[in-house]
């Protein structure tokens, strides 16, 4: 890993000055392609990096410094910095690069997650900058859910704080597996090794209990760039990588398929001109090969993969992260919301879920509220949402509770109005995570991970009203045909009826489609 190249694209400025191969006639031969590969290579990987920490810890400065030293800034952005005020003894105010919205700039605080992009010689680094303050736990959690690695930034003078523990707990919750603790402002503790080693030990003491695969601790001074992109001359006792070196050595997003094969169906593509019927979707786990048998988790119907199609031609295999269209050898009537898997380790056709969730909405949990559960490509009415406990992010203890509000981490039970294909987050993250949707406003009220799933409802409720297929077919859906689109519309209408009845105080379940077909 450490042998990875770390040279940045410092050559860009000189490239622009170099005489270009000029071809005045567009029809004549193109210039040397080799030079294009040099300037515009496809990068061999992509890494999404979350940065969390507060403004005081120098976070914006750290990211600004990374961007500055990676020479990916355009001249006018550099000019903005030069024109802006200087801080800390004449260095440019790097934070000007990061704080976007006018309102935030005026408040001098970052409240929303911001995305930044830069290229090293080998890969694209996507920086997801998230706010650190406690009142923005939800922003941080949503930012972290996109990250492959997280930078926890702390001030060397203050060491590990309660906030650091809280951040680590959020990272763990949303599934971040690699964490870098950046101990910043080392210049203000006289580059002291003992200060650094104590913080390092403190961090190891509390981080072991999380599900992180790898933790790394790096001492930096972002203002002067020490150990950010270039090694520090002030800390000879530190022999580890610079932050940038480390970011280049971590495995890229989707290097190889992990976990069981999952294919949540997004939509059905048809082309009558050549009798094409393809299930469009992105492989969300594992991989699949032409000829293999796949099964629809809800109907248990099986079919063989006939073709894996893309506009660029058919593929033999499709792996995690690839967007394709799958043609099956027999029509098993699957539609949007279905999840295809291989026979072993299929998702569960579940009715009741145990979950941990970050409450995102400014409106508190309402036991009488109408909610929908968005999983990979499915949207299922929630027949009952019960909060049982809240997680204290600093002590990591749970406390019994029956309510929750903004920024809370809640533990609860979600009963679904119909069966859905569900995974647990640890087994298949993409089909084991969800967003809870307010059926009326449409807002995303919570985001969470599924910790357990059960096929049967906990207990038969005498007061539950069942919307049967026959009931719905007779009137409300009498105009619908028997195509997959019609089935999707059938389910949409059934969901809406269930929500209305639930708002009227009636517990509702929707009868499943027989065989999940028409």
């Amino acid at each position: 890993m450490s042998a990875q190249p770390t040279a940045l694209q410092k050559s860009q400025a000189s490239v622009s000055k170099a005489p270009l191969t000029v071809v005045s006639d567009q029809t004549s031969a193109s210039p040397s392609i080799a030079s294009i590969d040099e300037i515009a290579p496809e990068l061999s990987g992509l890494l999404r990096v979350l940065t969390c920490g507060s403004v005081d810890d120098g976070k914006s400065t750290l990211i600004g410094r990374l961007l500055w030293d990676a020479t990916d800034l355009y001249d006018d952005q550099r000019e903005t910095l030069r024109r802006g005020k200087t801080v800390d003894g004449g260095n440019p105010d790097f934070s000007l690069l990061m704080d976007g919205l006018v309102a935030e700039r005026e408040q001098g605080i970052t409240i929303d997650i911001a995305w930044r992009y830069f290229d090293t010689a080998t890969r694209r680094i996507v920086v997801i900058d998230s706010p650190g303050h406690e009142q923005y736990t939800r922003n941080m959690a949503s930012g972290a859910s996109h990250a492959d690695v997280a930078i926890l930034l702390i001030d060397a003078r203050h060491g590990i704080k309660k906030q650091t523990r809280r951040h680590a707990a959020i990272l763990d919750l949303v599934g971040v597996k690699r964490v870098i603790l950046v101990v910043n402002k080392m210049d203000l503790v006289d580059w002291s090794e003992s200060t650094f080693r104590k913080i390092e030990a403190d961090f190891e003491t509390f981080s072991w209990r999380f599900g992180f695969w790898e933790t790394t601790v790096i001492p930096t001074a972002a203002v002067s760039g020490d150990n950010v992109a270039s090694p520090s001359g002030h800390m000879p006792w530190y022999s580890g990588p610079t932050l940038l070196e480390h970011l280049e050595s971590l495995p890229s997003r989707v290097t190889e398929p992990t976990g069981p094969f999952r294919f949540p169906v997004q939509t059905v593509l048809r082309d009558s001109r050549n009798d094409f019927r393809g299930l469009a979707g992105t492989v969300s786990g594992g991989s699949v090969r032409v000829g293999e048998t796949v099964v629809d988790a809800l109907s248990q119907r099986k079919a063989k993969i006939l073709r894996i199609s893309t506009m660029d031609g058919d593929l033999e295999t499709a792996s995690q992260g690839q967007a394709v269209a799958i043609q099956l050898d027999t029509d098993i009537d699957v539609a949007r919301g279905a999840v295809l898997s291989k026979g072993d380790m299929p998702p569960l056709a579940a009715r009741v879920l145990e979950a941990r969730m970050v409450w995102l909405s400014e409106t508190a949990y309402d036991p009488r509220g109408s909610y929908l559960l968005r999983t990979a490509t499915d949207l299922t009415p929630v027949s009952n949402l019960k909060i049982s406990a809240l997680l204290d992010l600093e002590t990591l203890e749970t406390h019994q509770a029956d309510a929750c509000a903004t920024n809370d981490i809640a533990i609860g039970t979600i009963a679904l109005g119909r069966t859905a294909a569900i995974d647990t987050f640890t087994e298949a993250p993409e089909t084991g995570s969800f967003v809870l949707v307010d059926a009326i406003t449409g807002g995303s009220v919570a985001g969470g991970v599924i910790t357990a799933a059960k096929a049967e409802a906990a207990e038969a409720d005498e007061n539950t009203f069942v919307l049967t297929r026959a009931m719905l077919e007779r009137g409300l859906n009498a105009d619908l045909g028997d195509s997959a689109q019609s089935e999707a519309e059938f389910r949409r209408r059934a969901n809406e009826v269930a929500l209305i009845l639930r708002a009227a105080g009636i517990n509702v379940e929707i009868e499943n489609a027989p065989d999940y077909s028409i």
Binding site: V22, I39, G45, L46, A103, V126, S433, G442
Partner: protein, 301 residues
């Protein structure tokens, strides 16, 4: 796949996923097509997302009447070649009142001839979702933009209404009066767009390539005289210069750069070596401080 997955493959797959989610979740989407390089990539990804089926939504071009002639020709050819449903909308009222980019300030012109007709067209056809080519790397206020960006009634963008987005899950359930802008290129950079055009061998408007073109110097910028509506001020003269355009828009507001890059490879080489971010070529941004954020709140993309 036999080849290793590059960062462009990952970006492409993500964009296709977004297109398919939006098409499945919204009742009546439309693709906002502005003919430039970002629209070219956007359209190509949309075709990939639904291939071999036809695009399940139309394209909408807001025509100010001041686009380069080459752009309009390219637009119409593209629609024919790919069998697309193309809708063109102009603010006839603004055009009748003679609102033009020469006599009116960029902010008034943009509002009347771009923002207003966009809202008119979205309302007229009752589109509930509109695909756009905006990227988070373009400008500071866009760095925080969502993939599904919600607009309140009147197409107003309100930062407080934006929904947190987690994992790959996209929540497109609309509240009353809400519509959505969908940005499949959110995570692309300008470099990626060019690299992708090169890799996929996409046709772009010829204006991106250097050629002898009649230009004047105005406000320190090179402006092409695309037709005789651009009249000369005292001291100005039309000179044939070898120029190309880094972005395309209304010709009196789009600055050319002197260049010899006459084919895609040279353009990409020049662009990726360039040290000025692309929005400097667009005159509307320098009009006011925080210009883009204000325009966004008013409903401009």
């Amino acid at each position: 796949m036999t080849q290793p997955i590059s960062h462009l493959d990952l970006l492409e797959a993500e964009s296709i996923h977004i297109f398919r989610e939006a098409a499945a979740q919204f009742r009546k989407p439309v693709l906002l097509y502005s003919i430039g390089k970002d629209s070219t990539v956007l359209l190509h990804l949309a075709r990939k997302a639904f291939w071999p089926a036809r695009l399940p939504f139309p394209l909408l071009h807001i025509d100010t009447g001041w686009k380069f002639r080459d752009m309009i020709a390219f637009r119409d050819k593209t629609a024919r070649d790919f069998d697309l449903d193309l809708l063109v909308h102009t603010n006839e009222d603004g055009a009748a009142k003679g609102i033009n980019p020469l006599d009116y300030s960029p902010s008034i012109y943009t509002d009347v001839m771009k923002t207003v007709p966009l809202k008119q067209a979205l309302d007229k056809y009752a589109f509930d979702a509109a695909f756009g080519g905006a990227r988070r790397d373009e400008e500071a206020s866009r760095a925080k933009e969502r993939v599904f960006s919600f607009r309140a009634e009147g197409h107003r963008w309100d930062p407080r209404r934006q929904r947190p987005e987690m994992w790959r899950l996209l929540n497109g359930r609309l509240g009353a009066g809400e519509t959505v802008r969908v940005f499949p290129l959110s995570n692309w950079t300008e470099r990626d767009v060019w690299r992708y055009i090169l890799r996929e061998k996409l046709d772009v408007v010829p204006l991106y390539f250097a050629a002898e073109r009649p230009t004047i110097v105005r406000g320190g910028q090179l402006i092409m005289q695309d037709d005789d509506r651009l009249t000369l001020k005292p001291g100005e003269e039309v000179v044939n210069r070898r120029v190309r355009f880094r972005t395309l828009g209304c010709y009196p507001l789009t600055a050319a750069v002197e260049s010899d890059a006459a084919d895609m490879e040279s353009v990409v080489a020049e662009t990726l070596g360039a040290r000025t971010s692309e929005r400097q070529g667009r005159l509307i941004d320098h009009d006011q401080v925080g210009a883009m954020e204000k325009k966004k709140q008013e409903g401009y993309f």
